[in-house]
């Protein structure tokens, strides 16, 4: 059939619309065997419990960019909160009820003159407590290699073309220090409630590769 492709098929996609890793559907891989074996050994030897692993995965699943969006939205409506956030983002996020762990979290404010973008050239350090697990591209060689030498070109590949007079600052994360971008509030959103504003704050705007967007 000439038109036998599956434009509208959602087969193989999860509820979020992303495909599952291919490994889910193929035969058992060497590394999956290693994961099962190591996990079982650590449980048998009393280093970990199955309940701990289950609880950790639940905690991981419950974190999403919606957490970071709440922090950003509050910073947009409350100047005192924003000042405290820029001063000590770990403490302020903890006070909002987010488990930040022992790491230092630094909030970076985008302005009319400065645009911040976050990378981890060493590995994949990411403010996962506020944004969930990092997207694939954040962990890719291409993003990690190029963001520090040609940030404007990288940003343009994400559809973000910054004016030439805008200063771009690239922040390289470490194991102990994570960054979150506080994007500039779009003019179209002025006057909205904190709750409504949170819907404008995209994950990519908090990494610095995108801008806040009006919710669809």
């Amino acid at each position: 059939m000439p038109h036998d492709h599956h434009d509208h098929s959602h087969e193989g996609l999860s509820t979020s619309g992303h495909p599952y890793r291919a490994d889910n559907d193929t035969g058992l891989s060497y590394w999956q065997v290693m994961e099962i074996a190591l996990r079982e050994l650590l449980i048998e030897k009393g280093y970990l419990t199955a309940a701990q692993i289950h609880a950790q995965i639940n905690a991981m699943d419950s974190r999403s960019p919606a957490n970071g969006a709440r922090v950003v939205a509050r910073a947009w409506v409350d100047p005192e909160f924003k000042a405290a956030l820029l001063d000590n983002a770990s403490e302020v996020s903890r006070a909002m009820g987010f488990d930040i762990g022992p790491m230092h979290l630094i909030a970076l404010e985008n302005t009319d003159e400065v645009h911040n973008v976050v990378v981890c050239t060493l590995c994949s350090c990411y403010p996962r407590n506020l944004l969930g697990l990092p997207p694939d591209w954040y962990k890719s060689r291409a993003y990690r290699s190029r963001t520090v030498i040609e940030p404007r070109k990288v940003l343009s590949e994400f559809g973000l073309n910054l004016p030439e007079q805008m200063q771009v600052r690239v922040h390289d994360s470490t194991a102990d220090m994570r960054y979150i971008v506080i994007p500039a509030q779009p003019e179209d959103s002025f006057g909205l409630s904190e709750e409504a504003l949170a819907a404008w704050v995209t994950r990519d705007s908090m990494i610095g590769v995108g801008l806040p967007l009006a919710p669809k």
């Binding site: 999860s14 979020s16 992303h18 495909p19 599952y20 890793r21 490994d23 889910n24 035969g27 058992l28 891989s29 590394w31 999956q32 065997v33 290693m34 994961e35 099962i36 074996a37 190591l38 996990r39 079982e40 050994l41 650590l42 030897k45 280093y47 970990l48 701990q52 692993i53 950790q56 995965i57 991981m60 699943d61 990378v119 050239t121 060493l122 590995c123 994949s124 350090c125 697990l133 997207p135 694939d136 591209w137 962990k139 890719s140 060689r141 291409a142 993003y143 990690r144 290699s145 190029r146 963001t147 520090v148 030498i149 990288v154 590949e157 994400f158 390289d172 194991a175 102990d176």
Partner: protein
């Protein structure tokens, strides 16, 4: 790696498979138990060399590093891990059957 030449960024995203989440959980929990650190995770990843980025997925590299760290910490031996892997493989040919 920062500053090295590289091609375009692939914007595709995927949801994490259960086995990948378990690898992540193993790293977090063994670190909390004092058996490894983020730095020791990364040391083994870097020892693998740049080729590993082409031939292994992210969480494949991570499980290799966590396993190496557990051996170095004395939590498991390579013999125990090898024997358990043989046992796991005999259970079935899919992740669901083996885990």
């Amino acid at each position: 790696m920062g500053g090295d030449p590289a091609g375009p960024i692939n914007p595709d995203e995927h949801d994490f498979a259960l086995w990948e989440k378990r690898v992540d959980a193993l790293m977090v929990l063994t670190s909390a138990a004092g058996l490894m650190t983020t730095d020791s995770l990364r040391r083994v990843l870097e020892d693998m060399g740049p080729d590993a980025y082409e031939t292994m997925t992210y969480y494949e590299r991570w499980i290799a590093s966590v396993a190496q760290n557990m051996v170095e910490a004395g939590a498991v031996t390579t013999e125990e891990l090898g024997a358990k892997m043989t046992e796991v493989r005999a259970r079935g040919s899919t992740y669901g059957a083996a885990s």
